[in-house]
Symmetry: C2
Subunit: 350 residues, 2 copies
DNA sequence: TTGTACGCGTTATCAG
DNA sequence: CTGATAACGCGTACAA
C-alpha cells in the first residue's frame, strides 16, 4: 500500500535496494547521488545493478524534505493564452526538462494581488526558482521574492529597480530597425501609432522610431505621432484621427501587430491601398503575421529563445554562479515576407 | 538556516506554532487540517491565532512525504506553442488553482518516447493527476498510467480503448454544422479538403461533412472530396488539383483553418473571388480567424472550457467520485463574422 | 479533548 | 571504504 488510490503497487525505497544489494542505505545513497565520498567500484556495481533490477527511483518528496528543494521551477505569466507567452513557456520547459526540473505554470492576469498570492504559494512549495513575467512596472513582489531568497529572473518586462536579473527583447532596436527599413525604401512621412505610455516597452518603441528618423536626418513631425491601445481598435481609431485631420503620410508604424491590423483595415476602408499606397509597420507579439492578408513582413521576437535563455540564466543563478545580476537583451529580427514595405513586429501586449 | 541559498529566513514549522500556542503538534495539525477529530473551540482559536501570527504554512514536501500526495497536477501536451493548447492550459490552471493545486506543464512533441518519459517523471514526482493530450491514437501509455493508479483524463484526442475518461470537442457535429450552413445558403457543389486519415479528428470531420449532405439530400460527389495535411500548403495544393481537373464547386470546406487559408490563397490567385464567388469553410484550431482577410466566420472550439472541464473531471476522479469513466463531448460553436458564407472551424493539428 | 511518539524516504554526520 | 543513526516536517495511532 502506498497511499495512491488503493493500488498496491509497492514502490521500492532506498532500503529495498540496500537489502537487495546487501549494503547499507548510506552506500546506496552515495552511489545514486554520485557523491564525492569514495565507494568501492565493486560495491558500486552491485548497488547499480540492484537499482536497475528493482527500477528504483529516489522519492522526490523525501529528497525535497531533506534537501529543501523540489526540482521544480515556476513560470508566472499574466496569461498563457496570450499568444506572446506560449513559445516562451516552451523554451523554458525544454531547458528545465533537460536539467531535470519540471515547470510549474501560473497565470496572474497581471493582477498584483494574484501575483503576490502565487509567489506565496511557490514559496510554500519550495519551488527552486521563478521565471516571472510581471505585468506592471511594480517591483514590490520582486523585492519580496528577492528577500525570500528564491532565485528569480524577470522576463519580457523591464523594471526600474535594477537589482534583479532580466531577459527581454530590445524594443528600441526592433522599432528602429523597422522604421529604418521604411526610410530606406524612401518613405519620409511615416506615421507612428504607439502603445500606452505607462508601459516601458511602448516608450522604448517610440524611442526607436525617433532614433531611426534621426539616423536618416528626417525631422520628426509631432502631428504624425499618435497612440493606440495595443489593440485592433486603437489602430483603427488612430488612422481615422490622422485622416480626419488631413495628415499626409505614405507609411505607418504601429507599436504592435494588432494595432497594425486595425490601421490596415481603416486605411483600406478609406480607399487607400496596402501596400501600394501606404506601408504599414507594426510590432507584433502574435505569431500570425504570415496569415494576415496581405502577409506582413515581421520583426519577430525570439520568444522561444527568450524562454530558454531566461531558464538557463535562472539555473546558473541557482547554482550560485551568479557573479553579478545581469540584463540580457535579445535582438528581434526582421522577417521580410514581401518586398513592398509592410511589416509587423512583436511584444507582449497585456 | 533552511537550506535555501544561504538565506537565514527561519520558516515556522508546526512545532513553532505548537509552542507558540502552548499546545501539542497534534492539536495544531488537527486544526489546520480541519480534522474530524474534536478539538475545543477555545484551543482552536488559540492555534489559529498563532498560525496567523507566525504566518505558518504547512511544508508541502513533508505533507507529501507523509500523505503520498503533491497537490500538483500535470498537463501533458504535444507543444504548448501550438495555438490550440494555451487556452486549454489556462482553463485547466484556473480550475486547479481554485482547488489548491498547481499545474505542471510538459511538452512531448507527440513523441511516444517522450510521452512515456514524462509519465515516468510524473509518477516519480507523485503528481496527483494527469491531464493528457496524446498525439497519436496510441494508448499504451494510458494503460501504463492507469496501471500506476494515477488518475488521468484524456483531452482533445480520441482513443480507441474506452477505459479512460475523455474530454473532447465534437468534430463531427462541428463540421456537420458548418457544412449545413453552406447548404442552407444554397450551395450544392461543396468541395471538401480533409486532414490526414490517420487522425480520428480528421475522420470525424469528414463524417460530419457527409452527414450534412445527407441531411439535405445532396448526393456526395467523390471527385470533390480531397485531402490536405492540416497545413497551409495542403489547402493550396488541393485547390490547384481541383481546378486542374476542372471540378466545379461554389464552396469549399477545409478540415482546419490553415488548410482554409491555403485554399483561399489558391482560389484568389486563380482569379476567383472570396467569398462572392466561392465560400470557404475550415475547421480552425488557431484563434486568429478574426484577423484573416476577409475575416472568417468560425466554428470555434471551446478550448478554455475544455481545459476547465477536464480539470474538474480529473478532480472528481481524484476524490474518488468517479462512479464510471465518462466521455465528455463539447460542442463547438458557429461564430458568424460575415454573412456571405466563409468560415473557419477549429481542432488540434499536430 | 489533548499529548506522545513513530514512521514516511532521504541525506549527512560520525564512528568504525 | 562502509554502516548506523539522527534529522527534515508532518500526520496519526495510541495512550492519557
Amino acid at each position: 500500500m502506498n497511499g495512491r488510490n488503493g493500488r498496491t503497487v509497492s514502490i521500492p525505497t532506498i532500503r529495498d535496494v540496500a537489502s537487495h544489494a546487501g549494503v547499507s542505505v548510506a552506500t546506496v545513497s552515495r552511489v545514486v547521488n554520485n557523491s564525492l565520498h569514495k565507494v568501492h567500484p565493486a560495491t558500486r556495481q552491485r548497488v547499480l545493478r540492484s537499482v536497475h533490477r528493482l527500477s528504483y527511483h529516489p522519492n522526490v518528496m523525501a529528497q525535497g524534505l531533506r534537501r529543501g528543494t523540489s526540482h521544480s521551477i515556476a513560470l508566472i505569466v499574466p496569461d498563457i493564452s496570450n499568444p506572446f507567452y506560449p513559445a516562451i513557456a516552451r523554451g523554458a520547459e525544454d531547458v528545465a526538462r533537460q536539467h531535470g526540473y519540471v515547470l510549474v505554470l501560473g497565470n496572474t492576469d497581471g493582477d498584483p494581488g494574484r501575483e503576490r498570492a502565487y509567489l506565496d504559494i511557490l514559496r510554500k512549495r519550495w519551488v527552486d526558482g521563478v521565471l516571472f513575467a510581471s505585468a506592471g512596472g511594480d517591483d514590490r513582489h520582486l523585492r519580496a521574492l528577492r528577500a525570500s531568497g528564491v532565485p528569480a529572473v524577470l522576463i519580457a518586462r523591464d523594471v526600474a529597480a535594477g537589482a534583479v536579473d532580466t531577459v527581454l527583447v530590445d524594443s528600441y532596436a526592433g522599432m528602429r530597425q523597422a522604421t529604418s527599413h521604411l526610410l530606406r525604401l524612401g518613405h519620409r512621412r511615416i506615421a507612428y501609432i504607439g502603445g500606452p505610455h505607462s508601459l516601458s516597452v511602448a516608450r522604448e518603441r517610440l524611442r526607436g522610431y525617433r532614433q531611426a528618423l534621426r539616423d536618416f536626418s528626417v525631422p520628426p513631425d509631432p502631428s504624425l505621432i499618435t497612440s493606440g491601445d495595443f489593440r485592433v481598435d486603437g489602430g483603427r481609431a488612430a488612422i481615422r484621427r490622422l485622416m480626419e485631420r488631413r495628415r499626409l503620410f505614405t507609411a505607418v508604424v504601429a507599436a504592435n501587430d494588432l494595432t497594425a491590423i486595425g490601421a490596415m483595415e481603416a486605411l483600406r476602408s478609406a480607399g487607400r491601398g496596402i501596400p501600394d499606397d501606404v506601408a504599414v509597420v507594426g510590432f507584433d507579439d502574435i505569431p500570425f503575421a504570415a496569415f494576415v492578408d496581405p502577409p506582413l513582413t515581421t520583426v519577430a521576437q525570439p520568444t522561444y529563445r527568450l524562454g530558454a535563455l531566461a531558464m538557463e540564466r535562472l539555473l546558473a543563478l541557482m547554482r550560485e554562479e551568479a557573479a553579478t545580476t545581469r540584463r540580457i537583451m535579445l535582438q528581434p529580427q526582421l522577417v521580410v515576407r514581401r518586398s513592398c514595405g509592410a511589416y509587423l513586429l512583436a511584444g507582449p501586449t497585456s
